[in-house]
């Protein structure tokens, strides 16, 4: 599949004829320099951006459930809703999906926070916590929603190495707990090394062979 941005003479080919298979239990690092197309590929996999040509299939997902409810996404920028507290942010996907009644959603959110040692922050607002804590909360939100596929777009881009490794470990733990494949876009080889496989990407083209 390919993705092209822009129109007519100002087009940018962000992804060129990429073709890969992602299996349960896979932990993939999508690795490349800035502008290489790794985020684009990740967004296509996450169902956030449709391919311009070609197609993508999710045979492992339940076709009767909306795609967004089965794929958990963590972004580089803090993606918490500023007006909601930490626990409200974590329970939000459950409420939006309607998969759990409010009380149960709250319990699941608290459990996810507890799992990541964040239960002390449950009442805090996003602006009251650090960047590292915010990313951990984003991971907790994915964990609570129990997705079948986890995509993380530069989740450690704004963190120091210690915090970056901590968040990566948490993502791996979540993927392991849920049995979901994990796809992480990163330009940091130290993060990529923690994952099972690396898909190198440059100029929108995936390398022939994974590492």
């Amino acid at each position: 599949m390919s993705v092209t941005y822009g129109r007519e003479d100002a087009t940018v080919r962000a992804l060129v004829e990429a073709s890969r298979r992602l299996l349960p239990g896979d932990t993939i690092a999508l690795c490349g320099p800035s502008g290489s197309g790794k985020s684009t590929l990740l967004h296509v996999v996450a169902g956030l951006v449709p391919p311009t040509s070609g197609h993508i299939r999710w045979p492992g997902l339940d076709p009767s459930v909306p795609l967004r409810q089965q794929i958990g996404v963590v972004f580089q920028a803090p993606s918490l809703i500023p007006a909601l507290s930490v626990v409200e942010n974590v329970e939000l996907p459950l409420l939006l999906h309607g998969s759990s009644p409010p009380a149960e959603a709250r319990d699941l959110a608290l459990a996810a926070l507890r799992d990541l040692d964040l239960d002390g922050l449950s009442a805090a607002l996003p602006e009251e916590i650090s960047g590292g804590q915010a990313q951990r909360v984003a991971v907790a939100r994915v964990l609570a929603a129990r997705p079948r596929l986890i995509c993380a777009d530069e989740p450690t881009g704004r963190l120091d190495l210690d915090h970056a490794l901590m968040v990566t470990n948490l993502l791996l733990r979540a993927a392991s707990q849920l049995g979901a494949p994990l796809l992480v876009a990163t330009h940091d080889p130290r993060i990529a090394d923690r994952l099972g496989t690396t898909w190198p990407i440059a100029d929108g083209r995936l390398a022939e062979e994974p590492r």
Binding site: S39, H43, L48, V49, P66, R68, Q69, V73, F75, Q76, A77, P78, S79, L80, I81, P82, A83, L84, S85, E88, E91, L92, P93, L95, L96, H97, G98, P101, P102, L125, P126, E127, G131, R141, A145, R158
Partner: protein, 897 residues
């Protein structure tokens, strides 16, 4: 030099970049400044136009511009020559004033004798030179003319003889006409005397005759005349009443100096302009006060538009600082952006105001003089420029003070909820003070008062403006801070209200609303103020128009008034019957109602007496409760109808004669049988403050049937005619044509141009039209901008929710919930504030209404249209925002990466 050029280049690049990248926000800020400027510029034009109107009206209201009193009648020729030679003088007529001991007449076998009388000798050119000084009611325009009241007292009509009792030889003359002297107060003023020495009323008995005849009769009787020279001036006066007053005063002083003290100038034109200049000063404050909230609101909207990019701007500032930009550089960048918005907005605003002025006022003059115009334009330009600067610089200064590097990484839309309790306390204090000032100012009853020269003049305290001003500020703070505090504790009601729309995520939506309460309350406040302005402006203007119409109808009695000349003949009732039938037959006439007009003595005081049918009179003329004391109009008229001998008197008469309800009162009225005054017993049943066609001072109202029985005279003398809407002038013309010179016919369209002071006579329609359009624009702008911008600020939140799996309907409901809540608070608060403001404005400015309104005139059609348009604007803005929200992409989450 090169660093300067480099700096300039950076500034241009910055402005070019920000205007291109955020074109919508830039244009909205320009529109906000333009709206502020348009409001002020249009007000300047309206004030300028209304001042010129006041000058014209004051000049037009004066029948004789100057009455030059001569100390020595022998100087008449010299002074006349001097005046004729002066520039700006169009007519000079010497008038002789003679005094008689009384006038005697014998009619119908009875003899009537009056008290002192004034006899005026007029030159043949007088009626042509001073056409508004004398109005012929019946008979000839020339010869011996009797004032209407004199004719009534003597029961004399044209063709009959009267005897002037003067000097040592009474002289008999034949009456050729009966006239009205519309400006008798100024005609009989004591020229040069201070106001407290002026006569309380003009003489009851007046005879006018040609100068030659007066001279001959007076000389033969040994009576010495006093001479006044009446002067008409050219109408070329400065447009501003104050300048016109100063010019005419200087001219009059110059004449007195030129004639070395041998004359005293009764400056009627100066007196009228003096009143007009005071009204003009007041009107300037009044019109600014009525329009200023619109300008302030437009400024606030601009601030909201500029402030809506607060987080983004804060991030940019932090980055600029991080990359080495000095505070001064940051400030000059903000100032340059503001200057761009200010200049474009000001030019657009002045242009829009000129267009509005051309259409609404047919004038694009900014000041009464060119100097004033320049001052206004500079002031307006400064306001536009400073509004833009304040909107951009104040947040920049605030951000620079508090900015940290962490801000460059701060989340978008982070909730900052300031402490609102302090503002709430200030709001309560302001509202209480506003209430107290309102109570104090509305207790003193402002009213039109008559100056000695007979020129209506306003007496109003400027303090009256304090209460509404405090209410505006208090309402602003109360809605903003009270709304914020109320939302904080409104989790349960919010849940109840929002649950049907948001179902499972209600608690989350409510939590978001509560944390965003400051933003929601601020948006609601702007909407509330815009709605309140629309309501109060529309209601005030509508009530003003209503009262102008009431005033016109009060003065003219009904749509058309027909006054018959006094007649003592036995055939008069039959003649009146025929006239009534003639009037009734005119197309467009709905009803003809007779109104008796007599004169009655209360003790020694001669008052107008109106005999009415209290049941049918309200069908031809509108009665307001304010016309009476001690009950509604309906109650008082019912009481009068229920008491055949009942009489309504003025409050002054009640005080003077110490009357209590049910007291018997003996009035002396002319008896048709005996021809002399006859005491008739009446019963005091109530107080009338105003009555159709009645003078502003004392008068009496009684049952016509009782008056007719007791005086043996069933004639009415006046007919009030109700017409189909828009037919007033046509019916009046037809009546004139049918009745000839035997009746004086006036219609309400003529009266509208003659009533009230110069202020109440200002035609507010131009201001009203533009004010209502501005109010509508402000409400729509507030509704759409506030809702749209508020939701645009949530774009990132919607993007996150979408990534987390929110369905389109959930996103739309989320957007609608917040918009609906903002609108509901804004509309409800705006309705309450608008209602309170309307009442307060009408009450404290009751002086500009004559008579004061019994109730507010609420323009439901306009307000309903505004409400529907507001809801449509909010719905459209919400729909657009919701659509944008639903189409948010992952790019919205990467906006700052």
């Amino acid at each position: 030099m090169s660093s300067m050029l480099e700096g300039l280049h950076h500034h241009v690049a910055w402005i070019s970049g920000t205007t291109r990248r955020r074109r919508g926000r830039f244009l909205a800020a320009v529109a906000g400044v333009a709206l502020t400027v348009t409001t002020l510029a249009f007000l300047a034009m309206f004030i300028s136009a209304s001042r010129a109107t006041m000058t014209d009206r004051a000049a037009a209201s004066v029948a004789v511009d100057w009455q030059v009193a001569l100390d020595n009648p022998a100087d008449t020729a010299r002074v006349t020559d001097t005046l004729t030679a002066r520039g700006g003088v169009t007519a000079v007529d010497p008038v002789e004033f003679l005094n008689a001991r009384g006038i005697e007449a014998t009619t119908g076998g009875t003899r009537q004798v009056t008290g002192k009388a004034a006899v005026l000798g007029l030159p043949a050119t007088y009626r042509r030179d001073f056409p508004d000084a004398i109005r012929t009611l019946v008979g000839s325009d020339t010869g011996v003319l009797l004032a209407q009241q004199t004719a009534a007292n003597l029961h004399v009509e044209p063709g009959q003889e009267i005897t002037l009792l003067w000097g040592d030889r009474p002289t008999t003359v034949t009456v050729t006409g009966v006239v009205e002297l519309p400006q008798a107060d100024s005609l009989f003023q004591k020229v040069g005397a201070p106001p407290q020495s002026q006569p309380l009323a003009p003489p009851d008995n007046v005879v006018l005759m040609p100068t030659a005849l007066a001279h001959k009769l007076a000389t033969g009787s040994g009576v010495t005349p006093k001479v006044q020279i009446h002067v008409a001036l050219t109408g070329t006066l400065p447009a501003d009443p104050a300048s016109a007053y100063a010019a005419t005063l200087a001219d009059a002083n110059n004449l007195e100096a030129e004639l070395a003290g041998s004359v005293r100038v009764g400056n009627n034109l100066g007196a009228a302009l003096d009143a007009a200049r005071e009204d003009a000063a007041y009107s300037q404050i009044l019109f600014l006060f009525l329009g200023a909230p619109a300008a302030v609101l437009a400024g606030l909207l601009t601030a909201v538009v500029v402030g809506s990019g607060e987080d983004r701007r804060r991030g940019e500032l932090a980055l600029l600082r991080l990359r080495g930009a000095r505070r001064r550089t940051v400030m000059t960048l903000a100032a340059a952006e503001a200057a761009c918005v200010g200049v474009v907005g000001t030019l657009a605003g002045v242009g829009a105001a000129m267009l509005a002025g051309r259409f609404a006022l047919h004038s694009v003059t900014f000041g009464a003089t060119s100097k004033a115009g320049i001052v206004w334009l500079v002031a307006i330009g400064l306001v536009g420029f400073l509004t833009a600067q304040a909107c951009y610089l104040l947040p920049t200064v605030r951000d620079l003070r508090a900015l940290t590097v962490a801000d460059s990484r701060r989340q978008f839309g982070a909730t900052r909820t300031p402490n609102r309790y302090a503002g709430l306390v200030v709001a309560m204090i302001l509202l209480v003070v506003s209430g107290l000032v309102f109570w104090a100012t509305s207790r003193s009853k402002y009213a039109l008062v008559l100056a000695p020269e007979g020129v209506p003049k306003l007496s109003i305290s400027y303090w009256a403006f304090a209460a509404p001003a405090l209410l505006w500020i208090g309402a602003y703070l109360l809605t903003r801070d009270g709304g914020s505090v109320a939302l904080r504790y409104a989790r349960r009601p919010l849940t109840m209200v929002l649950a049907p729309l948001n179902r499972r995520i209600t608690s989350t939506v409510v939590a978001g609303v509560i944390r965003n309460r400051a933003v929601i309350a601020r948006a609601s406040t702007l909407l509330a103020l815009a709605v309140a302005f629309a309501i109060s402006a529309a209601t005030f203007n509508s009530t003003y128009a209503q009262q102008s119409e009431v005033d016109a109808q009060l003065t003219n009695g009904a749509n058309v008034q027909v006054v018959l000349p006094p007649s003592g003949s036995a055939s008069a009732p039959a003649a009146e019957q025929r006239i009534a039938q003639q009037l009734d037959a005119i197309p467009g006439v709905r009803r003809v109602e007779p109104l008796q007009h007599r004169f009655a003595y209360v003790g020694n005081d001669l008052q107008d007496l109106y005999g009415i049918d209290a049941q049918t009179l309200p069908t031809v003329t509108a009665f307001q409760d304010a016309y009476f004391q001690g009950g509604t109009a309906d109650q008082i008229l019912t009481r009068l109808r229920g008491t055949p001998s009942g009489v309504l008197v003025s409050a002054e008469t009640v005080t003077d004669f110490n009357l209590s309800l049910g007291d018997h009162l003996k009035l002396r009225l002319p008896d048709a049988t005996s021809g002399s005054l006859r005491p008739i017993e009446f019963t005091y049943v109530g107080v009338a403050n105003e009555f159709p066609t009645a003078p502003k001072d004392s008068f009496l109202v009684a049952n016509a049937s009782y008056v007719a029985d007791q005086t043996h005279d069933p004639t009415a003398g006046t007919f009030l005619v109700d017409t189909e809407p828009g037919q007033e002038r046509a019916v009046a013309d037809a009546a004139r044509s049918a009745l000839g010179t035997s009746a004086a016919v006036t219609d309400i369209t003529q009266t509208r141009g003659l009533i009230g002071s110069s202020l109440t006579a200002v035609d507010l329609r131009g201001l009203t039209r533009v004010e209502l359009v501005l109010a509508a624009l402000l409400v729509l702008a507030a509704a759409a901008l506030v809702t749209g911008l508020q939701l645009a600020e949530r774009r990132r939140t919607f993007a996150i929710a979408q990534v987390l799996g929110a369905r389109r309907r959930q996103l739309v409901n989320l957007a609608i919930s917040e918009a609906a809540l903002t609108s509901a608070i804004g509309l409800i608060a705006g309705g309450i504030v608008g209602w309170a403001m309307s009442h307060m404005l009408v009450k404290v400015l009751s002086g500009v209404f004559d008579p004061p309104p019994a109730s507010l005139a609420i323009p439901w059609a306009y307000l309903t249209t505004i409400a529907l348009a507001t809801l449509a604007a909010i719905a459209t803005a919400s729909a657009v925002a919701a659509r944008l929200s639903a189409s948010t992409t992952v790019a919205d989450l990467r906006d700052r990466d």
